[in-house]
Amino acid sequence: MSLQINLDNLSSVPNLKLFRDFQTKELLNILSSINAPKGLVLDPALANPLTLIVDVRTLKKYAVDQLFLLSSKPFDTSLTHIVYLVRPTMSNMKKIAKHIHHSEKINSSVTETRRSNREEQGNETNQKRQRTNYVFLVPRITTLCRKLLEYSGVLGSVILDEYHLDLIPYDEDVLSLAYSKSFREFLKGDTSSLFYISRALHKLQSFVGQAPRLRYYGTRSKSIVEILRRLRRQDRREESSQQQSENSSSSSVIKPQIAEILLIDRHFDLISPLVHQLSYEGMLDELYGITDTVLELDPKILNKPRTGKKERIPLNSNDLLFAEIRDLNQSQIGPYLSRKAREIMGGYDERKNLKTIREFRNFTGKLGKLQKEHSSLSTHLSIAEAINKYAMEDQLFHRLMNSQLTVLTECEPCYDFLEELIYQEAPIETVLRLLCLHSLALNGIKSKKLDFFRKEIIQTYGFQHIITLNNLEKLGMIKKSEGRSKRSYTNWKKQLNLIDHEFTKNNGIHSVHSGYAPISIKLIQALYENSKKDYNEFIQTYFQDSYGIYTQSSKNLNEDLQESEQQNRNEKDIVLVFFIGGVTYSEISALRILNQSENLNVRFIVGTTDITNGDKIIKACSKKTSEK
């Protein structure tokens, strides 16, 4: 079963197939350039994303005989060509160095034992047994890694190169860098991901055309626009010199399929990911965790026999039924699926009324689709049942949802519940999410209360959480209350209409959190929707000088744009919304719901560093359990 999203629909805009194929081909070229059976060692952080680019069977075809996950434990293999495909991190380099030292040690001992019968064997055979190590860094070689390999004395024994995998199509409308560290990096002041993001966006645009407009909100967004402009400038300088001589097939020739790139800094809306997601896909992520579009479930949930292995369910729009339900509020899933079940049964029942041969033929034609839907239906019915059971029976869940909504709606604290969560020793992530939500929505927590909670948390969950708390404070997610500021949540709530209790009736984006709409998405809606309300002043006070729009001034481009606009007058302009620091499934769902709206003359697609949720954000702030 392929986990890749099918991008063969040529009419879809922007067309991401070429873009993905290019990255696949680059990997295959790397593999075929090493003309020998080889072992591929994958960074665990890359293993899943890679399945969206290439499947194991293709790897086999390219003489990948063994697959390993990179760990600090060296492995033994008889293969002489080892290809490491890893992120350029310090810990990865240390592991690789360890592996190489290990294999060299083995090798020298082999040489030792063979020395006695060297005459017969000749020393060439010994040389052949030596491993050739290739290290491909994704998406690029960094000075840091090169130096680390050098300092560990293995730079000479590896062939160092890079594989430029960056944006991976998760779905027809979602692109991700699968770079889960970006949030953690921001915390530490490491902004290397900004450069990666810019380069990735730059590369994407060489496939789908230079977006004529760049819009940015937040300081990091602004930085990216600056880097992007720099990259464009470099390109233009170098291009024009190339054009004179040989190839004139430059990227600026491609008509832009994306009209605008909107950059959103996660830091500006830290509230939304903290709120428990209640869209179907969001809920699945919260309860079971979705890794790179794949949901791994205990077979028991799917009413299948236990095999010791988890069931892998790809979640993307290839599954037509899933595409219909992923954005719905979890409470709507049950009724929707039972209606769907009746429909499918009705489909099967058609066969009873078949008379002519043509009717039979038509029916058998439909049968395949029907069966596919049927199997998908039974999967989602089982999952929905499990979710429902959880929502009904977990005594804390219901109260947690209520108190969240109370905090967000009334801007009143629910300290008693928070206290009880701690006493019941609920997961630390749940506790801290609610604590941060209090602090962010109420614009701080009273000093005495804050000290109380911090002490309860440290005494209950352990001293290591002094680090977590310190980090959250550094990020401003927890703070002591101050006077009201204009940038406070209440202001957002008032301006952007964040709360709607009648969400089921109104089919609005409030459904993704059962009443609360993400600030990030509400801002986007405000920016693009034809509305009488003027948000300018409000946005100005919030973002000050870190927002704006940059328009590509190139003459040709405008002409191109006009032309393409004339061509597809009926088509909506595409806006790529890029979230720096992660986006939640609920936010993606909310954007999809916005796409249905008639008040918008643009269509959104999503780009992100990674898919996040509240638990992941809290974990990013916690002390990493040291791996040794």
Binding site: M90, G189, S241, D451, T460, Y461
Partner: protein, 830 residues
Amino acid sequence: MSTYSASWDLLHNIKYYKQEIYRLEETELSQLELSGFLYAGSKNGGPIAFMVDYTKAVKQTSMILSNRIYVFSSSGKLLGEIDTKDCGKVVDIGWDKEDRLICVSLDSIIHIFSMFGDELHSITVSKTSKMTSMVNLCKIWDTGVAILNEAGDILVADLFKKKSPALYKTIPFEKDIYDMDIIPAQFSNSRQPEVLLCSSTGELITCVDFESSVEYAIEPVVKLSLSPSGKILAYFTKNGKLVVTTLKHDQILLQFDTKGSCPTKLVWCGTDSILCYWEKKNLLLMIGPNDTYVQYQYGDTICLVPEIDGIRIISNQTCEFLSRVPDVIESIFEIGSDSPGAMLFEANQCFEQMDSRADKIIRVIKSDLSQAIKDCLIAAISEFDLERQNLLIKAANLGKTYLREFDHGYFAEKIKEIRILNQIRVYLVGIPMTYNEYKKIGIRNLIKKLLNHRNHLLAYEITRYLKLGSDKVLERWACDKIRYSERQADEDENIHDQIMKKIKQTKSKVSYVKIATVARDAGRKKLAIKLIIHDPRSSNQVPLLISMNKIEMALDEAINSRDDDLIYLVLFHLLNELKSLSITEKDLFSKLKNREKAIELLILYWKKNNDEKHLQMLLEGLERHRDIAALNIEKVLESDKIDFKTNTLKRASGKFEQDKNVFYKQMCEQQSKLIMVQHELELKKKRSIDFFGKSVNETISLLLQNRDQKTAYKIKKQFKVSDKRYWWIVISTYAKNRMWENLSLFAESKNSPIGYEPFVRVCLNQLSKKEAARYIPRIKNMKKRVDFYIQLEMFRQASDVAGQLKDDNILKQIQEAKEISKKLKKKQYK
């Protein structure tokens, strides 16, 4: 014109002619006494190098020094002088395809010079890095050098690939090797250069890598020469025979007895004839198939430079070119020729003389006119003689006026080629390239060649003339400008302005990093810095700035680019300097001052690399107390030594105090206390319980599990655990460990500050309905009681409570729940 063809020589059925290209009297070249020199000429009309041959004792004029190499253009202009006193004893000289002079010294070192005498680099050719052997024989060709040394090793160096010279076979000592030649990679089967050797025993050995094959010649061979096509081998035997065979030795193509001794030179003239030159007799013998030959007697020593289609012959008087007569020339100029080309040429002669026959002739060849025009054009290109060339062009032009449909583009293209070739052949430039060579190397290599000859202006004009990109030409000009201009202090500004002016004028896109690197290598740092800031890529700027030790500039550029990798590049440079003690920490920090981004990355690196000493130092200097505290706490968490932990906590709490963070300070102190208390407890309990790393809650819970309620309560007091939390800890611990009796006793002990609902819940969490039911009556909220009873399916009790509440709705609810539960049970039984 008849006189022209009269001077042609016939060899078998092929005509040869000598064309004079330059007259060399009065030139610098005419001053040399050629017989006393070792020389080498570069292909494609390239320069010729002369070096005094120390094996001959010929008296030279006083200007000539024996340890110098003199480089001349074919037109006799002295281009450069090379002092070889640092090269040791030079045994052979030659040229590579980019007109660089290759000198092989006796101790197996290859020195590479520009034709103007700048040493570019050198390569040591030896089997092991330590030992070098004396050169026995060597062969230089356009991409490499092969050396047979006195140890018998054959080593092949590739001048265009960055790899160490390859060791081929080792030849046993007893064999005397007379001559060596090369089958270049593009002709060999192995796609590697193969080495051909001839030995005293008549063996012809072909070597590549460790492989070799041996063929036997008819007699011992003293000289070898491979044809320009790479397919045919000519060799000269000890007994004066010249033999030509295929390279596979499966066919002898020619055998000619010269009855002479070993010639000074054995070279090919094109691919159809071989030249033997005996310097002593000044005799040049051209030998063709079927025992045909032509003899040229010279009055003085000549130098031979083989080209792909002929041979350049240089004497003190002239530079000539001996080659086959091209077919078109032959067809036009041969006496009595009636080819269309010849007719057109004749028509033009008549036309010039206003003779009406011109028109008639053209009408006769009308059907072949197009071919005639083409022939005249090609003939014009092949001609070195400008007068004849001019006549040929005129003839073609005349023909064209009669043939409107003639491809104008083709005509223009040929004229352009003629103009370009004429331009490079003029005396001043002195590159007598033939048309065949031009076609073979192409316009781009021609321009490269001009640049190698430092004819920047001509190269530029040609690129403009042909509408080719002139960026590379300008770039090279700028580089050479920097390399070779006067070194004066105030020149930098001037050169920079000149270069920038030209670049702006011509709107060229050049690689500034390349130009700036040249400036740096020429020791013009200031100029390099001025130039590099024009480069649009920070990734180009930063490394160069670092290499010139402009660290602050590099840092700012890196920070500006927002590419962390570039910042790291600078940081690592600084860290290396720190390591090698060329700078101190103080220098480092002062360089980083106010460069936040760089500081952040350095902190990150030191943190990940556990360089605590430096990290503390840096953070201390920045007064980032809170970060130091956090750092210390991380150390605490990673350590398992109590003393270390408490000491480090003390430091952390001190830092928090400096940061005026009272709460965290207290937390650190408390943690310290906890560790001590836990330690004492462990000792007391004789280490039966492991408290290590446990939180306050967990500590209390562990004590309760071990039924030490007294100490548990003591800890509660000590750490000011609230009653509420304490109660929760107690009941969860008891429930989890199914200590029901304790739970029950505890429930009785006091009035619960958390009510009794939690009691029910903790029991339910352990799936103990019986225990849970025990505490339901104590719940104050009656509705809650009902709910729990329903959950436990105790419908009777639920109804009782509901009865007290007198609420019909609740009763109904109970009824419904009861029925659902019945149904479910039935289902299970089925």
